[in-house]
């Protein structure tokens, strides 16, 4: 029996893009459904009643929510191809730690840069953001990927943020490449992979989208 896979997401969501990357890494066919978060579908509300958020993966009718939990699920079910987590428990722990770091830090700090109306808050956001990226650069070291020789779990968690870089740079008035050249080199390396380039949104479209939201919020 063929697997039935449905992904509920929105096109600008970096969290949804993580799932797309993972599905593409495994070569899986799935149905993508774009959600309108201002008018959530009955299916979304049924499949994620707790948070009512995207992304939601529905595999043979069963829903999984929370992007990195979905990525880990995908890795466990289709474990015969392109493993995202290593086999050694300590290395797995390191991967989970850094993916958790990305989740805990980057998204909230990044929000300060794009949505803040106060210059001081924005400056703090920029400083914290660059500190996080530099720490991640240190963790990457001389490896091609966070997963070592191969693209892995942490790479999936972080790479989708890169489509926001242009937006951060524009509103924060700084160059991420100047500050974190190794990390930007890593994003370009990841984008050479079909699974990544086919899943990430165009950074300029993301910028336009953010711009639109800022106008609606009256901060542009």
């Amino acid at each position: 029996m063929a697997d039935e896979i449905v992904l509920l997401s929105t096109w600008p969501s970096m969290f949804g893009m993580r799932v797309r990357v993972a599905l593409a890494e495994k070569g899986l066919k799935y149905e993508y459904r774009e959600e309108d978060l201002g008018n959530k579908s009955p299916l979304l509300l049924l499949m994620n009643p707790v948070h009512k958020k995207i992304p939601v993966l529905i595999h043979n009718g069963k829903p999984i929510s929370e992007s990195m939990i979905i990525v880990e699920y995908i890795d466990e079910v289709w474990n015969h191809k392109s493993p995202l987590l290593p086999t050694d428990p300590f290395q797995r722990a390191q991967a989970r730690f850094w993916a958790d770091y990305v989740d805990k830090k980057l998204y909230d700090i990044g929000k300060k840069i794009i949505w803040s109306t106060k210059e001081e808050e924005q400056e703090t956001g920029k400083k914290e953001f660059l500190e996080c990226l530099k720490l991640l650069e240190g963790e990457l070291g001389d490896n091609p990927y966070f997963g070592g020789e191969n693209f892995g779990f942490v790479d999936v968690s972080l790479v989708t943020f890169s489509c926001l870089f242009h937006t951060f740079e524009s509103y924060g008035n700084f160059s991420i490449e100047t500050e974190c050249p190794k990390l930007v080199a890593w994003t370009k390396r990841c984008l050479e992979k079909e699974s990544v380039s086919s899943s990430l949104a165009d950074p300029h479209k993301i910028h336009d989208f953010a711009s639109g939201v800022r106008k609606r919020l009256g901060i542009e």
Partner: protein, 226 residues
Amino acid sequence: MGEEVKLFRTWSSSFALRIVWALKIKGIEYETVFEDLSNKSPLLLQYNPVHKKVPILVHNGKPIAESFVILEYIDETWKQAPLLLEDPYERAKARFWAKFGDDKVLTSVWNVFIKQGKEQEEALVAATENLKFLEEEMKGKKFFGGERIGYVDLALGFLANLISIFEEIIGLKIVDEEKFPSLYSWMQDFAEAPIIRDNWPPRDKMIVKFQALLDATIASSSSSSK
């Protein structure tokens, strides 16, 4: 080669308790290193330079931080008394509920405890909403893991102790037995389970600690609103 397992923790940390329970359930010998967070040891800073927090598990000299990451490491390294089931869908559900516990339940319950007046009322509404989801999930089960204590029980287990401490201090019911029969009964069963019941931090010390935290918060908010 002998196993060397060390757990860096504080006496009261709910996150560290998860690790204590997991190690004891699996029968793993370990050494406890108590930390004073106002005076962090050089070892703590060396083992967790990113967050500088506890708990930290150090296994044969290699450190692991973040309680859920540590739980999964323990489960993968010592296979006896498994905390997570084998099925990927069940594992995803367990991870989901553990995350929900920390992100939503803990936050809303903490707000009921620490906030005053209207903010407290709003926090209680949010906490009740979140607890309703747990109540649903608990129905028909003894533990979240089924017949045996599992990953989700360890993740949410601090509720079985902390909620009654908060309720005693603020004189407000958060988990009402009538509104949340399954959750209430789980809290009793879990708190009294072997291993769990032997490892709660001293209740009187907890009351003193959290009362002091609440008093300090009230004092600082009333002085800042002058």
